[in-house]
């Protein structure tokens, strides 16, 4: 994603001072990056943990429902369990897509500017 970044130089990258970090932290650009990460990761974390706990609670207290046969010997509990696998794979894939489109370019831009010392 480093299309705009200068080619890596042989010299050590600039190590930004604390003041520079504070300045960047308070910039609108960084605020945007932070918001983009948190507004995705935090609700999704609450979501998948709730979904997982629902599964744990149903396994514990809704034996009748979970034991309902859907076809052959496949019951609701089995499908629910497999669904946890599927949602885990989907969330991982979704985050990979989201972060490379929305987080990486913003992060790279800030990093190359700070380490370039400009």
């Amino acid at each position: 994603m480093a299309t705009d970044a200068p080619p890596p130089s042989k010299t050590e990258p600039h190590s930004p001072s604390t003041e520079e970090f504070v300045e960047v932290q308070q910039s609108a650009e960084f605020g945007e990056l932070r918001r983009a990460h948190r507004s995705f990761a935090f609700p999704l974390t609450v979501g998948f943990i709730t979904w997982y706990l629902l599964y744990v609670l149903l396994s514990n207290y809704a034996g009748g429902f979970m034991g309902t046969k859907l076809f052959g010997h496949i019951n609701v509990a089995f499908v629910f369990g497999i669904a946890q696998f599927v949602t885990t794979f989907l969330i991982a894939w979704w985050y990979a897509r989201y972060s490379s489109a929305n987080l990486d370019p913003k992060g790279e831009a800030i990093k190359s500017r700070m380490e370039g010392g400009a």
């Binding site: 970090f21 514990n60 010997h73 369990g81 969330i91 991982a92 990979a96």
Partner: protein
């Protein structure tokens, strides 16, 4: 194929397979030692030793993360639990897998960007170094030693069973052999050697599991419903075998225990030090992210196959034969390999030997990762930053880490030998509970809460640690239960086997309380550094 009555893996009767099993063990040991020596030659700097030079690719690290994570508890334990308790065994694997999303979304990338070698690097980043490093080192070593002990004792039981060794001296010798090998892997090969051992192990484990899964499914014409139906019927428990509740559904307390375990599993992974330090082995945060995604794919695929292994064992082997071989079902997977190949056939013997060797490789790779995590933390957090106050040279630190490896290895051998007849399987769940109670709250607060202070960090690490360990000490895991570590005494008053439901909220609460009650102002400049660095990678090592 003729029906089989005898218990094939009962002690002593496995002797006919012994030469083959030993040969395969030996091949794996020699191959990994060669890798270790080769990796040791390339290990020169501290970054080489602690982080494998940070040059592994995302896929390589994803494999190694999987190799580090899929312990004997997941391979043998889950297959065995499904074989005996049906659906309830499957519940474990879901917690173990979903947990990776916490690591993916919140922990892996910021950790990679802001730390160098250990979990303590991130926890202490904006805090007073010495107290927080001491706390982080303590909790790293406690978590790793509990986990290590469970693996060592498991190795003793498993290998003795597979080789038909029944004498005490034989079991101690096996624990000592595992301990010596892990000392050699880690002290010579460092992170580079350990990573390669874990990658080889992951490939072996996945290949072995694919093979057995394929053979099981072939037997049922790839009809999963048929497989489940046969397993339910043969288990003698009928439809209940396919529903939740056989293991945990008995009483209100056991149900609560299951919730507690579930929370500990899902929140523990992202606080396990031996997993966290793996993210330092790749060059960037993006590579750390991709390695978690690979790991989720590999580990998820593996757990899906354990369903076939567990229900396959239940469908093809008598329950009595499984429990006769090991009361907790830990040998169900090797037994299944033998049965699927044919009990009296050479093919059955080859499969049994292969799966046994894979299980042995699994244990060795995991203990190496745990030893590396604890000796790194000892040398980098406690020796270099606390005792020497950051003034130790790289050479001195490297010397310290090798000595720490030997020390931790020797301590684990001693404890593992002493604990060989105790039921220490519960220690893995305990390690997850401690990681979720002491480490995860501190990691999350450090990364995402501006006001978090040194006092908050100390209260949450020590608070979570002490409550988790304390509750287990007075739980049925340690005393007052026929399956306890000390079944003959009873000083338990805490009813649950897993402390997570109390200790995890307590860890979070203490971090918050310690912060709001502290007199010191948080270091806003340092937080700016940590926050910008963790999200952008600016100044990352």
């Amino acid at each position: 194929m003729s029906p089989v009555q005898q218990s094939v893996l009962a002690a002593g009767e496995a002797s006919e397979h012994r030469p083959l099993i030993i040969s395969l063990f030996a091949v794996f040991v020699v191959a990994t030692l060669v890798i270790t020596v080769w990796a040791g030659r390339q290990t020169k700097s501290a970054a080489d030793f602690y982080a494998g030079g940070r040059q592994f690719s995302a896929f390589q690290n994803g494999l190694a993360v999987s190799g580090d994570y899929m312990s004997a508890a997941s391979f043998l334990g889950i297959a065995g639990a499904i074989a005996l308790f049906g659906y309830d065994g499957f519940l474990y694997s879901i917690g173990f897998l979903v947990a990776w999303l916490v690591a993916l979304l919140l922990v892996a990338e910021p950790l990679r960007n802001s730390g160098r070698y250990t979990m303590g690097d991130v926890l202490a980043y904006r805090m007073r170094q010495r107290p927080v490093r001491t706390a982080a080192g303590t909790s790293t070593i406690v978590v790793s030693i509990f986990y290590l002990l469970a693996q060592m004792a498991g190795a003793g039981v498993l290998v003795s069973l597979l080789l038909g060794i029944t004498s005490d001296a034989g079991k101690v010798a096996i624990v000592a052999l595992v301990g010596v090998l892990m000392i050699v892997y880690v002290s010579i090969g460092g992170m580079k050697g350990t990573t390669w051992v874990q990658m080889v192990k992951a490939v072996l484990l996945i290949s072995g599991t694919i093979l057995i899964t394929f053979l099981v499914l072939l037997k049922f014409n790839f009809n999963i419903s048929d497989l489940l139906g046969t397993a339910a019927e043969r288990s003698g428990k009928g439809d209940a075998f396919l529903e939740p509740g056989l293991q945990y559904g008995a009483t209100g307390t056991s149900k609560l225990d299951f919730i507690s375990l579930g929370i500990a599993l899902v929140l523990g992974t992202a606080g396990l030090p031996h997993i966290l330090i793996r993210f330092y082995t790749v060059p960037t945060a993006q590579a750390a992210r991709k390695s978690v995604i690979w790991a989720i794919g590999i580990i998820g695929g593996f757990y899906l196959m354990t369903i076939a292994l567990g229900f396959g064992a239940a469908a093809l082997i008598d329950q009595k034969e499984i429990t006769d071989s090991n009361p907790s079902g830990n040998t169900a997977a090797p037994l299944l390999a033998l049965h699927i190949g044919g009990v009296d056939s050479a093919w059955g013997a080859v499969l049994l030997a292969t799966i046994s060797a894979v299980a042995f490789a699994t244990i060795l790779a995991v203990v190496a990762g745990l030893t590396l995590a604890s000796s790194s933390s000892f040398a980098h957090d406690i020796y270099a930053n606390v005792i020497r106050k950051g003034k130790a040279t790289e050479k001195e630190e490297m010397k310290a880490v090798r000595w720490a490896t030997v020390l931790i290895g020797v301590v684990s051998i001693a404890l593992g030998a002493l604990a060989r007849d105790l039921n220490v399987a519960g220690l893995v769940a305990l390690a997850f509970a401690v990681a979720a109670s002491a480490n995860l709250p501190t990691i999350l607060y450090s990364l995402f809460w501006k006001r978090f202070t040194t006092q908050g960090a100390l209260w949450s690490i020590y608070g979570g640690l002490i409550v988790a360990v304390g509750l287990v000490l007075f739980s049925p895991v340690v005393s007052g239960d026929p399956k306890a570590m000390f079944p003959d005494v009873d000083f338990h008053w805490f009813p649950l086997k897993n402390p997570g439901i109390i200790s995890i909220p307590f860890g979070f609460l203490m971090g918050w309380l310690g912060t709001v009650l502290s007199k010191e102002e948080p270091d806003t400049g340092k937080y700016a550094e940590l926050e910008v660095r963790s999200l952008t990678g600016t100044g990352a090592h």
